[in-house]
Symmetry: C4
C-alpha cells in the first residue's frame, strides 16, 4: 500500500547488507508464520568465509543486524560473537554447516511452517514426498515443470543436532540429488540456496509446493473415495 | 518488507517499555484475528508488583501506552487508573490475577482466535485436548517434542468472571501441571508466561499447536472413515 | 511490528476525524479481502445529520478523506459532493439510508468477504442462518453467548438498489430484531452500528461468526455422515 | 492501521506514475502470494505506445521504478532497457504483447496464486471452468451477476513462450469473448484490463471468484456424495 520505493534488487552485497537482508527476511517469514514462537532460523554468508547465524531462543522478528554469530562451516565453531553476551548460537548450527559443506549452500532457511508439517505427513511410512504437475517447480534451480521432484522426509528427534546423521544420509542419496530442501516430519523444513536471495526464492517456492500438494491430496482423498 | 532495523530484543525493561510492548503485541494479535471485535486482551508486569491490564470494550489495536490499569494480583483491585476516565478494566481481570497467583504468571494473553475455538471443539465430552507429535511443543517451557501435552478445556459461562471456579480447579489438576494455557470451549484461550516475551512465545506456539491439531484431526476424519 | 504509538481511542470526533477513520477502515478491510476489486463500502456520520458515503467503482483502499459524498438519509439525495467531479456515490446509498432510517444506524459496512458468501450458502432454502455457541456473540450489542442469533439471508438481485424491498421486509421481521447485519446470498453482508466504531466492532464480530459457523458446519458434515 | 492519507485515486497518469503504481502492485501481490518465488509479473502502458515490462527472475516485491523494460506490443522487441544491465525481460513478454494486440489490453497481471491452480484443476478434461452465482462477477467489465462466466483453461507447457499458440486460439473462441483472464492448468492465470487499475480490479475479482468457486466445489463434493 505504501508508495515508498522498495529496496533495490540487492547484489551479493557487503556483510552489513547481508545482515540487514537477513533481519528483513526474518520479519517477512515471521509474518508468514514460518518462524513463530522463536522457532526456525536463517543463515547467510559472512566476510571471510563464515556463516552469519541467528541466535537461538529469541523472537526471530526482533533479531537485529548486530545479533548474528559468525560460525565456521567446517565445524560450526564460533568465529565471531554478537555484542549481546546473553545470546547463544542457533541449534540449527550443525545442520546449516552440513548443508554448506555438502551442497555449497551459503544460505539456509529453517521453517516451522504448518504447510511443511502437513506435507511431511503425506510421506506416511515412505521416506519422501513426491511433487509434480506444478509450474512453480521451475523456481527450483535445475528443475522443470514436468519433473517429478522427490523431497526427503526424515524422522524428528528430541534435539535438532541429532538430525545430522539422517540429513547426511539423504544428502548422499541420488534420488534426492535435485532437492534443495529436506522435510523433517512433525517439525518443518530446511531449505537452502547459493546465496540469500536464492534461499529466499527456494523457501517461497517450496512452501507453495507444500501448500499445493497438501490441498490437492486432501481434495483427491475426498473425490476418489 | 521495510528495511528499518527492528526494535532490539527487549530485556525485562521499564514499565514504560512494557506498556509499549503490550500495545505492539495487541496490534500484532489484532492482525492475526486473535483480538478482533474488541475481544481478547493482555496483561504484563507493572512497577511495584502490579499488573498492567488493558481496558475492556475497546478496539485492542487502538490501545495506547497510557490506557492501561494497574491492578493488584492479590485481589484484582485497581491500584492505578488511566487518565482516560471513560475506560473500565478488562473482564479478564479476575482470571489474569488468578494465573498470577497460582502460576506466578507475570503476563497473560487472552485470545479469541478461531483456531482456539476449533481446538476446543475436539474435546467434545472430554475435559481436555491432547497435543502430540509436533516439534513446536518444545516452544513451551519444560515440554519436549515426544510428550503428549494435555490442555484443559473448560465450559463457557455467560460472564468471563464466572470462569474463575473452573479455572481454579484445572490449575490444581496434576494432569495439567505442564500446561501454560487453558482453552474455554466456544470462546478462546488463556495463555501465560513468566514475562511478556514468554507469554508471546507461548501464545504463538499454542496457536500453532491448535492449527496443526485441528488440521490433522480433520484430515484423519476423512481418511479413516 | 512497528513501535509507533497507535492512534488514540477515538471519541465521536469531528467530521474530519470521521473521514480519516473511514479511509483507515477501508484500507483495513481491503487487507482482509472484504472490499477487494472495488466492491463493498462504508458510511459514517457527517456534520449536519448527513451520511459520509464512499464513491462507487473505485479501489476502496485508495479512497481519500476528500472523496466522500454527504447524503441525506431521508431520501439518499446528495447534500455535498467531493471535489473530484468524476466520482459518483456508492450503489449502497439506498440501503445505507434505509438502515439509518429503520435502525438509527449512523455507520454501515458493506462487505464482499468470502466468509459472508459461504455463510449465506448455509441458509439453502431457508431465509436465515442461525449462529450459536460462540462467545463472540457478546460482541453484538444486546446479544448473549447463550442466545441463538438469527441473521436474515436475502436473495441477490441484478442491481444493489433492488435489494431495498427485501431489506425493508427483514428489518421489520421480529425474528431478526436483534440482528445488526443482513446477509445477501452470493453477494456479501450489510453490517451496521450506532457509530463508526460500533459498526467496525460488529463487522469484525460477524465475520468471525461467519468463519466459525462455516468451519463447524463443514466439519460436522464430515463427521455425521 | 496507519493514519497517513492513501495515495489519491490515480488518473491515467504519467509513465513515472505508472512505474510507481506497478511496483506498488507487485509488493501488494507479493503479500497475497500471487507472485512469490520470483514468479508472476505485470505490465502497463509506457509513453509512446510501448509496454512497461517487469524483469524476469527477480523477487517481484523488490522491483524498483527503474527496473522495467519497454517493449513494442507489435512483436515484443525491446524499445528501452533499464539501467541495470543484468536484467532480462520477463518470459511473459510474448503473452502480454498478444493480449495487447488481440484485446487491446494495456495492462496484464500474471499470477501464480494457489487459488488459480486449484480453479484450473476443476476443469479436469474440459477446456474451461464455469463461474456463476456470485455478485463479484459484476467486477468484470460487461459481466452481470446472473451470467455464467466461462474461463478458458489451457494446458501448461515447459516454457512460458510456448503457451502462445493455445492462448491465441482461446482468445478467438466466441465462448470466451467476455473473459478478461486465461487460466493455465498447474501454473496460474493471465488477467488483463484496459489500464493498470482495471487490470488490478480484474485480478482481485478473478482471484475472489477462484477462491469462492473452489470452496463451493469442495463443499458440494462432500455434501452430495
Amino acid at each position: 500500500m505504501t508508495t515508498v520505493n522498495p529496496p533495490a534488487i540487492p547484489p551479493n552485497g557487503t556483510e552489513q547488507e547481508t545482515r540487514a537482508l537477513l533481519t528483513e527476511l526474518l520479519r517477512n517469514f515471521y509474518g508468514r508464520n514460518w518462524v513463530s514462537g522463536t522457532g526456525g532460523g536463517i543463515c547467510g554468508p559472512a566476510d571471510g568465509g563464515g556463516l552469519l547465524l541467528a541466535p537461538t531462543g529469541v523472537h526471530k522478528e526482533r533479531v537485529g543486524v548486530d545479533d548474528f554469530f559468525v560460525v565456521d562451516p567446517a565445524d560450526g565453531s564460533v568465529m565471531r560473537r554478537p555484542p549481546n553476551a546473553a545470546l547463544r548460537p542457533s541449534e540449527c548450527n550443525a545442520i546449516f554447516c552440513l548443508a554448506a559443506r555438502e551442497r555449497g549452500a551459503r544460505s539456509v532457511v529453517h521453517s516451522h511452517a504448518l504447510s511443511s508439517v502437513l506435507a511431511g505427513d503425506l510421506a506416511r511410512d515412505a521416506d519422501h514426498v513426491a511433487i509434480r504437475d506444478l509450474e512453480m517447480l521451475k523456481g527450483i534451480r535445475g528443475v522443470g515443470n514436468r519433473d517429478v521432484h522427490l523431497l526427503p522426509v526424515i524422522r524428528n528427534t528430541p534435539r535438532e543436532s541429532e538430525l545430522v546423521e539422517q540429513i547426511q544420509r539423504v544428502l548422499g542419496d541420488p534420488r534426492f540429488a535435485s532437492a534443495f530442501a529436506i522435510v523433517v516430519a512433525d517439525h518443518g523444513a530446511y531449505i537452502w540456496g547459493d546465496d540469500v536471495l536464492e534461499a529466499k526464492r527456494h523457501a517461497e517456492v517450496y512452501h507453495f509446493l507444500f501448500e499445493a500438494t497438501v490441498a490437492r491430496h486432501d481434495r483427491k482423498e475426498k473425490e476418489t473415495r
